[in-house]
């Protein structure tokens, strides 16, 4: 079960610069647990203290927002891409300005 997780540019400091991180896991929960185990600094960026996803962090499995799927219980098939997308402002457009 190899899932590739696409790390947004604003969170790459927490992955040592890695853009794509490959992890194993049959559900989004397992995938993100494996991801944050490998890159612990990501944990507080993605998760609330109670283990739910941060409200401003969107996660897509195979192009679809998991809030419209089964959330953290969304199954992740082998070869599928997971995309993490936090809301960006100042950063995004600070550099645009």
């Amino acid at each position: 079960m190899s899932i590739s997780v696409r790390i947004p540019p604003v969170l790459r400091t927490q992955t040592g610069g890695a853009k794509l991180v490959s992890v194993d896991g049959a559900s989004l929960s397992a995938v993100l647990t494996a991801l944050t185990a490998a890159h612990p600094d990501l944990r507080e960026q993605i998760f609330e203290a109670d283990g739910t996803l941060r409200r401003w962090v969107n996660v897509y499995v195979d192009g679809a927002d998991v809030r419209h799927l089964a959330g953290l219980e969304t199954p992740t098939q082998d070869g599928i891409e997971v995309v993490i997308l936090p809301a960006m402002a100042g950063g995004a457009l600070g550099s645009a300005r």
Partner: protein, 368 residues
Amino acid sequence: MTTKLFTEVDAKAAQQLLESPTPPLLIDVREQNEWDAGYLHGATHAPKGMISFTIPNIAPEKSAPILLYCAGGVRSAAAAETLAGLGYTNLTSMAGGINGWSAAGLPVVETTTLTPEQKSRYSRHLLLPGVGADGQTKLLNSRVLMVGAGGLGAPAALYLAAAGVGKLRIIDFDSVEASNLQRQVIHTTDRVGMLKVESAAVQIRALNPDVEVEPINDMLTTENVASLLNGVDLVIDGTDTFEARYALNDAAVKLGIPVVHAGVFRFEGQLTVLAPGRGPCYRCLHPTPPPAEMAPSCGVAGVLGVLPGVIGVLQATEALKMLLRIGEPLIGRLLLWDALEGTFTELTVKRDPHCVACGDGTAKGGAA
């Protein structure tokens, strides 16, 4: 006995075909100057000499019914033969042409109000199926609000101005700095220090005198956003704070005005069209901004100069599609572009029925 390659009908019969429940595609095969003097309602312009090159875009389906006309009926018959040779099977030529049509007392669309200068300036638009004189007139009568005259706004404004979008209202509160010039191509070295909206206005007027620029040296706030949106058909969002972006979103949803949203960071960019009643709004995508202490601090992050160029031009592209009502705008789709990888990723964004701005509980919600 040979099979006829096409049918010929007179003007009255042609009119009946056009008024039938399944009207044929109407194609005018005359030259530009003839088309400019007036054409039939609903016609697509495809001069005879080029028709074998232009027809695949106009009529991809070779069995589609096509009605051709010219001035007197000779050139349309020749064009029908050309199309038959390309495999088109349902061809009709109007005998007597537009002259016969007028003589029968049927209405000819007067040419638009484009001046000779405009016909020349926008000639490449006038040749395009889906744009033409009608589309160009639509653009000239449109007003776009550009929020920001920076990395995204600079290329977007230049292309919208070049395309002849008639009114560009630009709001920004910065002045041009030397460090902007690596990407903000609407500004110039000799205008460093000038207000960005003034510098942008100078460049747009130099590019296209058809465009009326409304420069506004201010910051977008919840107080002024409604008046900024007054009379606007579409917004190019180049906001750089969450406050401005949410204020813009909420007001645009209320007024039913589409926003082309985008962002860039280092070597990557993103883009989507937020069209009230047709798809999600920004709050459907991101219901809440991160608290300030969690917002990734990127004030000093670099950006490859062409990055906002590409994404800003994609914003302009989406704006033109929306204004012209052509193609498939990026509604409900978020496009990510990674310049280093050279890849696009498309994500689906759905309207959230519980959205506080556009959800079912709001005045605008029922429309979607």
